[in-house]
């Protein structure tokens, strides 16, 4: 005989607490796709409806602490509560009407968050351990971490990740588009292969610019003029000041786009984190212009040279002439 699953009592009470009224919960449950699960949750929610809020909160946290302890002790029952809790919270939000939604949802969200904040550090340590912690404190480890940090902070890494993401989506393209892609890729490759391995100080090898010329004037016109110009400049004289600024412009544009791709559960490059922060600042309607500009400039510095505005400059490296320049330029 199958025992019907139970929502953990404390969570069930939390669900009840989050719902504005029994009627709302019932209506929502009736509409919901997974009626059985939701009905079970409602049953438990009703059975465990709170008498005392403080008691509920204490029990919720204790409940998760118990689960975490069980997890640490290696029980097979580790996460049987997890999925139930997941559904429970889902119902909690489904039971909220649009009118009173923001505050109630946030409250429920916060409570679940609190409940989840228990448990051992084992998996977290494992997560970051790949970057050295578990390998022991040896010279080899230090080298490994340095290498990882170096790789993680490379633009090329982000670019490769983006390219992998494209490859994954390729099968969705219509057949005609794939044929066109095949022709163009072969063409492009031929250009490169002819020049493979050649080391040159700058212009002269097939580049995006040359591709553009091959693609004809029409395509060149359609491509962003600024990008084309930047690439031409940096190819001609990459280390020059003009080249550097070109790199700044190009890199930040793309980095800002890549920032949105960073998968949850992985710490990405620092410049991506900075770009994401800038992106947030620009999207946040309450952000001051100052915060936007600061976040943006941080991201720019970070993307262009991996040398940010670190604590160093704030501790006292600013030369006095810079201060006076600030005084005059911003006046």
């Amino acid at each position: 005989m199958t025992v019907p699953p139970r929502i953990p009592p404390a969570l069930a009470r939390r669900i009840w607490d989050a719902a504005p009224s029994a009627q709302t919960v019932m209506r929502t449950a009736a509409r919901a796709a997974n009626v059985t699960t939701q009905a079970l949750a409602l049953r438990d929610a009703w059975a465990n409806r709170p008498r005392n809020l403080a008691e509920v909160r204490a029990q919720t946290r204790q409940n998760f602490r118990n689960a975490a302890t069980t997890a640490r002790q290696g029980s097979a029952d580790v996460f049987s509560r997890g999925p139930m809790a997941a559904r429970g919270a889902r119902i909690a939000s489904a039971g909220i009407t649009a009118g009173n939604l923001p505050q109630t949802a946030r409250q429920a969200f916060g409570d679940v968050r609190q409940a989840l904040r228990t448990g051992s550090r084992a998996d977290i340590d494992r997560a970051i351990g790949s970057s050295g912690r578990l390998l022991g404190d040896t010279a080899g480890t230090a080298l490994h971490v340095t290498q990882l940090a170096r790789d993680a902070n490379r633009y090329g890494q982000a670019y490769r990740a983006a390219r992998q993401a494209y490859v994954a989506r390729a099968p969705e393209a219509p057949a005609a588009a794939r044929s066109a892609a095949r022709r163009v890729a072969a063409d492009t490759m031929r250009l490169r292969v002819n020049d493979a391995g050649r080391i040159s100080p700058g212009a002269g090898r097939p580049t995006a610019v040359q591709m553009q010329q091959r693609a004809g004037e029409a395509a060149a016109r359609r491509a962003p003029a600024q990008l084309a110009q930047s690439t031409a400049q940096s190819a001609a004289n990459a280390a020059s000041r003009a080249g550097r600024q070109a790199a700044v412009r190009v890199a930040t544009g793309q980095v800002a786009r890549l920032a949105g791709r960073l998968t949850p559960g992985v710490n990405g490059a620092m410049f991506v984190a900075d770009a994401a922060a800038a992106y947030q600042a620009w999207r946040d309607p309450n952000a001051s212009t100052g915060r936007r500009v600061t976040a943006t400039i941080t991201a720019l510095g970070s993307a262009a040279a991996a040398s940010n505005i670190p604590v160093v400059s704030q501790v006292g490296a600013v030369v006095s002439t810079l201060s006076s320049w600030v005084g005059s330029w911003f006046s």
């Binding site: 998760f64 809790a85 939604l101 997560a127 790949s130 633009y155 892609a181 262009a304």
Partner: protein, 353 residues
């Protein structure tokens, strides 16, 4: 640093965890200015995009140009939607590294990196909060977390029903505005990807030169200095938003701790500090002074992609002197980077893969 970030940091400083971490003022190490002789900047150009990359980017463009309808609050989200979410990832009760994503764009499509997420999210109401228990699959980029069970907390802020363009249609070609034929569109995509790859390779090469310079300078950066740098970065990148969203001090401290504990983040911060210290020493030795024309040029070049002009920057700087200072410091840092890079010989090679 912004006023908001400062505020968050001040609050954090009252917590036991922060007090424990902070032991007095952070001292800067002594650094000798390194030689700039014989620097080589090797730009490793990535291979051109292949058929699959071009096709995949084309698919993405169809989605980028798709018709979008924003769903009303309370409306159920559906497969294929584009979501804007606040998202937290817990593994075994702790925030995972990179586990805080705010105002994150999430496509509600099947993703083997998050097994079971689609099924649990589907049908949730806009404005609702959902917890999902998922297994991080074999394609999750954090190798160490693959196979682990993660609890995701997701608040659905906005949802958009997406109707992608039909890739075979004339209308799609017109909407993409990248050429009259599919071949022309693919060529424009190839050009775009190559431009980005080449610019990125150049940026990476610059990093390598700066690393070499820092290694020559040999600055020893203390853990305390790294802590301080990470705290500031965290406050800007996460702290302000977490605070605004009502995370309590303990939760914020936990989020900060996940940065401080991450050896890769620590190493990255250490590199940045080493480079900065080396640049500072070079400026002092060579008597490099802020150059008004360069500073202005750099600031304007940086602000242009965001639609900001000189007037907008000046306005922001006048309203908040800390903004003016941050801008000027960033530009000055870039001037010094340029000073070093101009002394490097540039070589371009084709990367193997």
């Amino acid at each position: 640093m912004s006023l908001e970030a400062d505020h968050v940091l001040r609050k954090l400083q009252q917590l036991p965890i922060t007090r424990a971490l902070k032991k007095g003022a952070v001292a800067l190490p002594e650094v000798r200015a390194p030689s700039l002789d014989g620097l080589v900047m090797t730009v490793s150009l990535p291979p051109p995009p292949g058929e699959d990359e071009l096709s995949g980017r084309f698919v993405e463009l169809l989605r980028e140009h798709a018709a979008r309808r924003e769903r009303a609050p309370g409306e159920a989200i559906a497969r294929g939607d584009e979501l804007r979410v606040d998202l937290l990832v817990y593994v075994d009760g702790r925030l995972a590294p990179g586990g805080v994503k705010l105002d994150y764009v999430l496509d509600l499509v099947d993703d083997p990196a998050f097994e079971g997420l689609l099924e649990q999210l589907e049908g949730a109401p806009v404005g609702g909060a959902v917890t999902a228990s998922v297994v991080l699959g074999p394609t999750h980029p954090n190798e160490a977390l693959r196979g682990a069970r993660a609890e995701l907390l997701i608040e659905v802020l906005h949802a958009y029903e997406v109707t992608p363009l039909d890739g075979g249609s004339e209308a799609a070609l017109k909407a993409l505005d990248r050429g009259a034929t599919l071949d022309e569109v693919m060529e424009s995509i190839a050009v775009e990807l190559m431009q980005l790859g080449e610019a990125g390779a150049r940026v990476d090469a610059e990093q390598d030169v700066l690393d070499e310079v820092a290694a020559r300078a040999g600055a020893e950066v203390s853990d305390a200095l790294v802590d301080e740098e990470l705290r500031r970065r965290w406050a800007v990148a996460e702290g302000t938003q977490l605070s605004a969203k009502g995370f309590d001090g303990e939760e914020q401290a936990e989020a900060l701790q996940s940065w401080l504990d991450d050896p890769v983040a620590r190493e990255a911060a250490r590199r940045v500090l080493r480079v900065s210290l080396a640049l500072k020493a070079i400026a002092e030795r060579d008597g490099v002074q802020p150059d008004a024309a360069q500073l202005e040029e750099i600031m304007l070049a940086a602000a242009a992609p965001l639609g900001l002009d000189a007037a907008a920057l000046k306005e922001a700087g006048k309203a908040d002197p800390s903004v003016a200072r941050a801008l000027a410091e960033a530009a000055w840092q870039q001037q010094l980077v340029g000073y070093v890079l101009e002394r490097a010989e540039v070589r371009e090679v084709q990367a193997a893969s």
